[in-house]
């Protein structure tokens, strides 16, 4: 069994409630931080832990926190990003639903470290039942002296507010989130200035993912150095992975970042293999925005090594032969799945979710969707494949926020690795509406370039 840090007590009956959470050591980390450590010391532990943002980009959390501006007399804010709208990602939901106090405790420690007295949880509107759970937990924590004025007699004040979004993926982008929180239209801001300098109501602000903030609790419990011993290299600690698609056991798993992709898919501890005795065709391992990989490149890197479930392992080979850990939305496709259709599904999503501020994303996402629709419906042309490539290339890197990139990458990767499937669709429009391309050669062993002779 892999070691767990977040979900180690998740199986305990009633852990959602304060009494059970507290009886099982809950708020121990907060007590330690608030009563015996200075904010700088907590920050030091977080830095030592090597914790990286779990919201997608993987930016070192300790470093992010140290960037926050500290002008005199200006409040600072901590915002917890619970907008979780990336297709395939549903890990934060599990955490908030089943162990809300873990998040509250994480917010308390993080706010103390950053010197924030107000903290916001921005939660996607579709999680309609969760704000109630969170608010109940907040009320319990307040009743027991963990929130409000003069927390546990330490003189530190903190209020946590839950704000619901209205159903826009773009409001997960941190500056769009801040705009939305301010009651405005959720358009991403043009950076700089970064939130660390000018965020919520133009005050210094840190935005972190739910899981990132929850991970601060075990870091304080076992110490930054000990946390860093989990995982491999710069991928320290554990990561929540929400696995879905054609697997035997879809769900949210906490993995230590030292296992291979193969183990994650096939071991009974995690996904339990591909469902219905089918074969693995492809996988999008980090949520819909990250590049899709065919089975052979997913399990092994281009160098022929085991691919690991780590930030570096999944990114091995760059965009040519690798992908990204992203937000941990692990989507598995078996041999019966059509890559064109899957790409269209994602393209349709990004088209629907573009905020429309910048021209490449506003216009390009719709264009890609329509070209893909043609290919999918047997009306595609060979030149459409090159056209798609050209469109995504002109979106990527030229937009205000990374949604443009997120829309471009899935299309780019699908064409890069599955071009023959696209071509087959164009050449056999009739057949393509009746059957799928199938596994083809996508699981064949890779040809490993022989190391140069010495």
């Amino acid at each position: 069994m892999g070691r767990k840090l977040l979900f180690d007590k998740a199986h305990i009956e009633g852990i959602r409630y304060y009494d059970v959470y507290r009886a099982n050591g809950g708020y121990g980390s907060a007590e330690k931080a608030l009563k015996s450590m200075k904010p700088e010391e907590v920050l030091e532990e977080v830095k030592k832990s090597g914790l990286r943002g779990r919201g997608g980009a993987g930016f070192p959390t300790g470093m992010k926190w140290s960037f926050i501006a500290k002008p005199e007399g200006v409040p600072r804010y901590l915002v917890c990003n619970a907008d979780e709208s990336e297709p395939g990602t549903f890990k934060d939901r599990y955490l908030m639903e089943f162990i809300p106090h873990l998040l509250i405790e994480g917010l308390l420690i993080s706010s103390y470290t950053l010197g924030c007295n107000s903290c916001y949880i921005y939660i996607r509107g579709e999680y309609a039942w969760i704000p109630e759970i969170l608010e109940q937990a907040i009320a319990e924590a307040k009743k027991n002296g963990w929130l409000g004025k003069n927390i546990q007699g330490t003189g530190f004040d903190l209020e946590i507010y839950v704000q619901r979004g209205a159903g826009a993926y773009i409001c997960g982008e941190e500056t769009a989130l801040i705009e939305s929180l301010e009651g405005k239209r959720g358009n991403p801001r043009i950076k700089p200035p970064f939130p660390a300098v000018k965020g919520l109501w133009d005050c210094p602000t840190v935005v972190n993912n739910v899981e990132t903030l929850a991970a601060v609790v075990p870091i304080l419990r076992i110490g930054g150095d000990e946390y860093a011993k989990y995982g491999i290299g710069k991928s320290t600690g554990t990561k929540l992975i929400s696995a879905c698609g054609n697997i035997n056991k879809p769900g949210v798993y906490e993995i230590e970042m030292n296992i291979s992709v193969e183990e994650f898919i096939y071991s009974d501890e995690y996904c339990g293999g591909i469902a219905n005795g089918k074969r693995l065709k492809a996988c999008i391992p980090g949520g819909s925005s990250v590049p899709i990989l065919p089975a052979n490149l997913l399990l092994k890197t281009a160098k022929g090594e085991q691919r690991m479930m780590t930030y570096e392992g999944l990114a091995d080979g760059g965009f040519a032969t690798g992908t990204m850990l992203g937000s941990g939305g692990f989507i598995v496709l078996d041999e019966d799945q059509c890559i064109v259709k899957n790409t269209l599904t994602f393209a349709r999503f990004y088209h629907h979710e573009s905020c429309g501020q910048c021209s490449p994303c506003r216009e390009g996402t719709g264009w890609m969707k329509r070209v893909l629709q043609n290919i999918e419906n047997g009306k595609g042309k060979m030149s459409d494949i090159d056209l798609l490539w050209d469109i995504q290339r002109k979106i990527e890197g030229n937009t205000i926020c990374p949604l443009g990139d997120a829309a471009a990458w899935p299309v780019a990767a699908a064409i890069r690795h599955f071009r023959d499937e696209f071509e087959w669709h164009v050449l056999h429009p009739e057949e393509a509406t009746k059957r799928n391309f199938g596994l083809a050669h996508y699981a064949d062993p890779l040809e490993i370039a022989a190391p140069a002779a010495v």
């Binding site: 979710e353 573009s354 429309g356 910048c358 021209s359 996402t365 719709g366 002109k394 030229n398 937009t399």
Partner: protein, 363 residues
């Protein structure tokens, strides 16, 4: 004594310029001038917060600064990126920038109706200029273009969203120029549209400025609608003693003979208004007697308007026969063979402005 401010040295397309800290790359480029100035469809120096959206002004920062010479990994929006000391920027010298800009122009035109022949903005449209300079000859888009219904914003302004490029300039103008904001963006992505809390008449005296800031023909002056093509009009600087303290009273009258067809604010060579004017001056003062005429307006843009302009015009000296090296031009079509001129006395070449269908009877 005032301390001397340190200036930043910047190089754009290998041309050096010194600017104050806090200047954007675009404004540094405008300081240099000429064809190294990136095109800007959304940035507007008089509107706070504008820019960054259209992406036509993308440039490559090949050297970040003296202190940190690393190039920036992505192209940046020059209108919203400030210069650093020692920064080096490539615009027209970077094939990557030219390629990206071509992409942006293609995106901007993707859903544009290209109805220039019936658009009042034609001739002074920034999208026309941009496409002419950076666009492709043909479109690769094979799908239905998006359309919207026309909306009247009060009785003086019409919004034709189909032509809008969502530059947000009008939104910022409404926000910053009028006390009562009834203007914003509704919907998202491709479905986003300028919302005006529909058909509400906007009863504040500065909303007309949205017409001037609109780079395309999405917001047009209803009092001028279909009255004339801008290139047949003579722009004339004029002023009046306007009682609104926020209005500068300095305008351009667009005239034909003694008739004032429309009134606009004065625009600089980047198409930005120099000073705002109120709606009274814009919509209600269409009589020359209301104005003190200063003289002809110098139109600096490469616009077609300057074609009909009388400053610096060279009369061609060559006659057609000379151009054809002695050959007589061949008459391909004699208008009198297919049409009857209503007014036979008229000399066609003397018709004041364009010939009109009323001038002819079909034979």
């Amino acid at each position: 004594m005032a301390e001397e401010k340190k200036l930043f040295k910047v190089k754009i397309d290998n041309i050096s310029v010194e600017v104050e800290p806090g200047t954007s790359i675009l404004n540094a480029a405008r300081r240099i001038g000429g064809d190294i100035v990136p095109p800007a469809m959304c940035y507007y120096s008089k509107l706070q917060g504008s820019g960054g959206k259209c992406r036509t002004c993308l440039v490559k920062v090949t050297k970040g600064s003296e202190a940190d010479p690393r190039p920036m990994p992505k192209l940046v929006a020059s209108c919203r990126t400030n210069v650093m000391d020692g920064m080096e920027v490539a615009n027209i010298t970077s094939p990557e920038v030219q390629e990206a800009r071509k992409g942006v122009v293609e995106f901007l035109l993707l859903n544009h109706p290209l109805d220039c022949p019936v658009c009042d903005q034609a001739g002074e449209c920034h999208l026309q200029d941009l496409s002419y300079e950076h666009g492709a000859d043909t479109t690769r888009y094979e799908f239905k273009r998006r359309t919207f219904d026309r909306i009247d914003i009060g009785d003086k302004i019409q919004l034709h969203m189909t032509r809008c490029i969502l530059c947000y300039r009008c939104v910022f103008t409404a926000d910053q120029m009028t006390e009562k904001r009834e203007h914003g963006v509704l919907g998202r992505g491709e479905a986003a549209e300028i919302g005006t809390y529909i058909q509400q008449s906007l009863d504040n005296n500065f909303i007309g400025n949205v017409i001037d800031v609109c780079p395309v023909g999405a917001l047009t002056d209803k009092t001028f609608r279909f009255k004339n093509r801008v290139w047949f009009l003579k722009p004339v600087d004029a002023h009046r003693d306007c009682h609104d303290p926020k209005c500068c009273g300095k305008t351009v009258l667009w005239m034909r003979g003694d008739e004032v067809f429309r009134v606009t604010a004065r625009k600089d060579k980047y198409g930005e208004v120099e000073e705002w004017i109120c709606d009274t001056c814009r919509f209600d003062k269409k009589d020359v007697k209301d104005w003190t005429i200063e003289g002809p307006r110098k139109i600096e843009r490469q616009s077609v308007i300057s074609q009909g302009h009388y400053v610096g015009v060279h009369k061609p000296k060559d006659t057609l026969v000379e151009v054809l090296e002695g050959r007589q031009p061949k008459l391909l079509l004699d208008i009198h063979d297919i049409s009857e001129v209503n007014r036979p006395e008229i000399d066609l070449s003397q018709i004041d402005g364009p010939a009109h269908s009323d001038d002819f009877n079909k034979k």
